[in-house]
């Protein structure tokens, strides 16, 4: 196919797919770590704590 010029993939786009997409396999054979929604929530908390000194860009729009 045509190769489209590709910038560095943004982590958030990657996580949309890797944490919300892909086949979920759970069962006795796998480790039980499928509750990725929790990861997502923790991640948000993590990032907002990292950025607490940076004004959130959307506040102006509320």
């Amino acid at each position: 196919m045509t190769v489209v010029e590709r910038r560095e993939v943004a982590l958030v786009d990657l996580l949309d797919r890797l944490l919300a997409g892909g086949v979920v396999i759970s069962g006795d054979l796998t480790l039980r770590i499928a509750d990725v929604d929790l990861v997502r929530i923790d991640l948000k908390a993590l990032i907002s704590s990292v950025n607490e000194n940076v004004p959130a860009p959307w506040e102006e729009m509320l």
Binding site: L18, V24, I25, A34
Partner: protein
């Protein structure tokens, strides 16, 4: 052999070998594990990082999560060059090879059906952002100067003027969102015409993405490789249609958003 098995994807057997220098999660080159009509692409990962408890802790560490996600994607990307892989969710870990084989066996029928559906298709991501307005909606007290009409400001700033100004700002803001929504649904409708399937992702939080503006559309489209050029051109054409809105295209991705059975 000790260590756990990290599974990236399930594929049909592909003739082309993966690049020799390709590494995946934990810096380990992925290998193919064939069973029946299918191949699992697998990497051996250390228990101290990928057993249930350490993995859970690691997943809350953004640096670790980011590096692992990129390593995972690295392998999926390489697979996408040689086949149409069915990607698994991040951090799908098995105890050993025989666990992987049993999984392939048990789900063979479903995997084959899904792989048939994804054969020769890729995923494109399209996002629409509404740029924040230049002046409207500032929190009170911050930069009031440019929010006020310059002449005749003085003593005329009565409560009624203030309320009118606020009302106008609110109205403009509503109209802007309605325009943005209309643009996004029009774009989605025309892109869907080129796609075999579509998925809506939740709008991205700008604290996570670092992107400016509010994300009002975050959609994925399953497109035949042969139709990708037309799809990309269509996105390019609509990009500058509406001032104040920004369209972003990502991809081609492996069909992450279309790996479910229900599609």
């Amino acid at each position: 052999m000790s260590g756990l098995r990290y599974v990236y994807a399930v594929c049909r057997p592909f003739g082309t070998p993966l690049p020799a220098q390709l590494t995946g999660v934990a810096g380990v080159p992925p290998k193919q594990l064939a069973h029946g009509e299918l191949v699992a692409v697998v990497g051996q990962v250390p228990e101290e990082d990928f057993a249930e408890e350490p993995l859970r802790a690691h997943l809350e560490d953004l640096d670790w999560l980011g590096a692992t996600a990129r390593a995972h994607q690295n392998v999926i990307d390489a697979l996408t060059v040689v086949t149409s892989p069915l990607p698994l969710r991040l951090a799908t870990v098995f105890l050993d090879d025989s666990g992987v084989r049993t999984m392939l066996q048990e789900r063979e029928e479903t995997f084959v059906r899904t792989l048939d559906r994804l054969e020769g298709r890729v995923e494109w991501g399209v996002k629409v952002y509404a740029e924040p307005p230049e002046t409207a909606g500032r929190p009170e007290g911050s930069g009031g100067a440019d929010a006020r009409p310059a002449p005749a400001a003085g003593t005329a700033g009565s409560g009624r003027d203030y309320l009118r100004r606020r009302r106008n700002q609110r109205k403009e803001s509503e109209e802007r969102w309605q325009r943005a929504e209309r643009f996004a649904s029009r774009l989605h409708a025309s892109l869907s015409g080129y796609a075999e399937d579509t998925r809506m992702h939740a709008p991205q939080n700008s604290a996570l993405s670092g992107a400016s503006g509010r994300n009002i559309l975050n959609a994925a489209y399953l497109v035949p490789r042969t139709g990708s050029e037309a799809f990309v051109e269509l996105v390019d054409r609509t990009k500058d249609d509406e001032p104040g809105l920004r369209v972003e295209l990502t991809g081609p991705w492996a069909a992450y958003s279309f790996s479910g059975e229900d599609t």
